[in-house]
Amino acid sequence: MSGPGSVPETATHRLARLLTLVPWLAHRPGISVADAARGLDITPDQLRADLDLIFLCGYGSMPDELIEVDADGDRIVVRNADTIDRPLRLGLDEAITLMVGLRALADVAGLTDRDALDSALAKLEEAAGSVADVTRRVQADLTDDAGADALAAARRALAEHRRLHLRYLVPSRDETTERDVDPMRLVSLDGHWYLEGWCHRAEQTRLFRLDRVEAIELLDVDGTPPSQATPRDLAAGTFQPGPGTEAVTLRLAPGAAWVADYYPVDAVVQGEGAALEVTLRTADTAWLRRLLLRLGGQGAILAPAALAAEVGQAARAALAAYSGEEPPARR
């Protein structure tokens, strides 16, 4: 959340904001209230309150020593603010966000204009001064195992509004599929790049993890997504419970506790011992069966009973393949 949110803004935080707001407005004489509020990421009411505050601030009490604000109509003019007509230097955390972010983007092949990125970083290092060195202690990574080709093709399709043909592996169903996709955006999340687009096979918005794309081809077809294509909210991660979801209760031993962090779960309660009990919603029982098998007994379905029986059955069927050979070591 940038700008003043639901938490009351402290006096010093507001000062820091005003020390940027004044030069920002002074360099845009006549900007409308709506445009300024949008550019500064505050509400019009907050902007008016800020203007009331800076009006008559200055380095003395004579009229020519005070900031002038003209905002009677819809247009804002800020004058006589020469003492603070440059913003304060970047703070350490501010410098970290941009410099660490730029260095991370530079490592992603095929994503950005490398010349602009390098020159921006060089200028920023100069502008940041002594804090530039400290920012190097924090290093972020946006690369993944997907080939640069898939990323570059998706990026080009997005820029040129062209349809893509994908051969794509769906791991939860363990099958390879062919589909045409109108690209909407490229998102990196938790160490992977995803293409979000309108899938003509599913007739839905879908996310495709680029390292699961086996082949990608740009088609000479307009790839503007249909009007009903809406991007998903990815704040909680890429896992999306579909419609017709079923509530499943799991018990997670400490070795499987990561499941509660990794997938959106409705409720977490401390169960017996160090175990957690969580409820998650999914219509995808194939995915769930696979997850429970992977957890190797560290996780168990408590309800519904039919699903628990299905998972137990799958495990026993798989074990049968080993019982005919040398008796494997049991514990």
Binding site: A11, L105, S119, P171, D174, A315, Y322
Partner: protein, 330 residues
């Protein structure tokens, strides 16, 4: 100047103070500042003015405003005064092209989902203060995201950038928790997770910690700047090497995979031969036997391990555990 109550009045006072200290060509003694800043002039006693001024000075410095004390040559009663050098205060006058601002905007947006979102937006606004708007179109639809959702992220980051010793409880891969006392050296994200690199005071060696395994609060256990970070320390290289050590593909597995199934394994196999009864035999390299056992177990009866025995054991042990947890052992 208007008498605004509460925090707004304080902001107004601080803004007046900053402007006075930037405008002056000579250091200003306290007594002069009390005349220039109306909210100081209104202070009812010397004591309350002194307290207010001392606190204001500290808070401006915390914001990164370079307020300095300098000697005055006997013009006023005080022999020291205060000022802010514009050269130290102001963002240097660098100008960015639209293309540069576009990639800077992208770098800033990468943090938009986390605890540094405000800092990233404020930084971009500072760079755009002189009126250049960024070229939005060229990078539309690209959304890098750096999550900072690990509970200790902000505390660890501050410790890393200020060289402050930390103590925390750490969950080891085996499941038990141990207390660690460290001197943080750096932090790096790698494949979507944040790691801390630090000197471990008890084990007297460099160690890597995954932030998501820190349990409970992170405690400061020493003064900022109380140790030196090695000049050649490269957190990302250390993290990458440490993660690679546990995953480098040094072993080969032989798996039997049912027709049309086990596709993620087929993608990584370096040899595949069809065998009788609708199965394919795959050879694939792996580093971490537990990670491969987890993955193979997920395929259930569609994938059967033939070699090596330790992978067979791992898969059988997991399947037995799953069967026991779902309807009893056989």
């Amino acid at each position: 100047m208007s008498a605004v109550p509460g925090p707004a009045a304080k902001t107004e006072r601080l803004l007046n103070l900053v402007m006075c200290l930037l405008y002056t060509r000579r250091p200003l003694p306290k007594a002069r500042l009390r005349q220039l800043v109306p909210q100081y002039a209104a202070a009812t006693s010397d004591e309350s003015f002194d307290r207010m001024f001392e606190r204001d000075k500290d808070e401006l410095r915390e914001l990164g405003i370079p307020l300095v004390i300098e000697d005055i040559n006997g013009v006023w009663d005080d022999d020291t005064g205060y000022r802010i050098h514009r050269r130290e205060y102001a963002l240097p006058d660098v100008s960015f092209t639209r293309e540069e601002l576009a990639v800077l905007g992208l770098a800033g947006r990468a943090w938009a989902q986390g605890s540094l979102a405000g800092e990233a937006a404020a930084a971009i606004r500072k760079l755009q203060a002189d009126g250049i708007e960024r070229d939005e179109d060229s990078l539309v639809g690209i959304e890098p995201r750096l999550r900072t959702s690990e509970p200790g992220f902000d505390h660890v980051r501050r410790a890393v950038t200020t060289s402050t010793p930390l103590t925390f409880d750490y969950r080891r891969p085996g499941g038990d928790t141990v207390t660690r006392r460290v001197q943080p050296w750096g932090m790096a994200s790698w494949h979507g997770r944040w790691y801390l690199t630090a000197y471990d005071l008890d084990r007297e060696d460099q160690r890597v910690f995954r932030l998501s395994r820190i349990s409970g609060p992170v405690r400061t256990s020493g003064r900022p700047g109380s140790y030196a970070v090695p000049a050649d320390h490269d957190a990302r290289a250390v993290v990458a090497a440490s993660v690679a050590d546990s995953t480098e593909a040094t072993h080969t597995a032989v798996l039997r995979v049912r027709q049309g199934r086990g596709n993620a394994l087929r993608l990584r196999a370096h040899a595949a031969h069809d065998v009788d009864g609708g199965w394919t035999r795959l050879q694939l390299d792996y580093g971490d036997v537990d990670a491969l056992a987890d993955e193979v177990t997920g395929f259930g009866a569609d994938v059967v391990v033939e070699e090596p025995p330790e992978l067979v054991d791992g898969v059988v042990r997991r399947l037995t555990g799953v069967a026991a947890a779902h309807g009893g052992d056989r």
